[in-house]
């Protein structure tokens, strides 16, 4: 970029890009709270604000090129923003939904199938042991501590 000294800093492009980046990277934080985990409201809000600012920045860069900078890096930042949004949406709305149907899983009203497995101390524990000594048992299948 040559003699751009007189042109104004196109802040809206950079701030918009930072918002998009925040939307892209912050899900692990928002996943701690059910309301922002079950549906990524917070992330989509970041992307929305980022998108508005990026569009505003591009309008400035291309509409008033004599006043604002950013024709080239604006296009690059906007493309990166779109790619991050696309990848985020693909993972959240497609990849995370690729769950097996589990049509053969035990249903309400059935007896829970009996099993015996090692507990955290290597001791064998049966479901019937747990049921026998409790009012109720919450049986949770998870993936690597989440």
């Amino acid at each position: 970029m040559s003699t751009t000294g007189k042109k104004s800093w196109n802040w809206s492009l950079w701030i918009g890009f930072l918002f998009a980046l925040a939307g892209f990277l912050s899900y692990t934080f928002f996943a701690q709270f059910p309301i922002t985990r079950d549906f990524p409201w917070a992330n989509l809000l970041f992307f929305a604000v980022g998108g508005i600012l990026l569009v505003l920045g591009l309008f400035r860069a291309f509409g008033k090129p004599q006043v604002y900078r950013g024709k080239i890096f604006g296009a690059i930042l906007a493309t990166l923003g779109i790619l991050m949004f696309a990848f985020f949406s693909y993972v959240f709305f497609y990849v995370l939904r690729q769950v097996p149907p589990s049509t053969g899983a035990p249903r309400v009203g059935q007896k829970a199938p009996e099993f015996t497995l090692s507990n955290q101390d290597g001791k064998e524990v049966s479901l019937s042991d747990l049921v026998g000594r409790s009012k109720a048992v919450a049986l949770i299948f998870y993936r690597g501590f989440w």
Partner: protein
């Protein structure tokens, strides 16, 4: 699949007091039809997330099979399920 040793350390670290069971051969996961083929580290088989609430007679009173891995049962749902098990089974 976490071994009992990993479960012991994690349980201690996180301060949980309930039982952690290890299913290294994914036998129980398979029996409950909860296998998520190849979804674990390095393409290993792991469980899809699932929650069951079982009453003192061993009868399942509540099941939660999520359609999105990110969406899990909330504590209040599990407490509701517990209240359900306090009532006699309707069938």
């Amino acid at each position: 699949m976490d071994t009992p040793e990993i479960n012991r350390r994690q349980r201690q670290k996180l301060g949980y007091t309930y039982t952690f069971l290890s299913d290294p051969k994914v036998e129980v996961i398979r029996r409950y039809d909860l296998l998520h083929h190849g979804a674990g580290p390095k393409g290993t088989d792991i469980a899809r997330p699932a929650e069951f609430f079982i009453d003192s007679n061993g009868i399942i009173r509540w099941v939660n099979l999520t359609e999105n891995i990110a969406v899990r049962a909330r504590p209040e749902q599990v407490l509701e399920a517990f209240e359900l098990t306090e009532q006699p089974a309707s069938r």
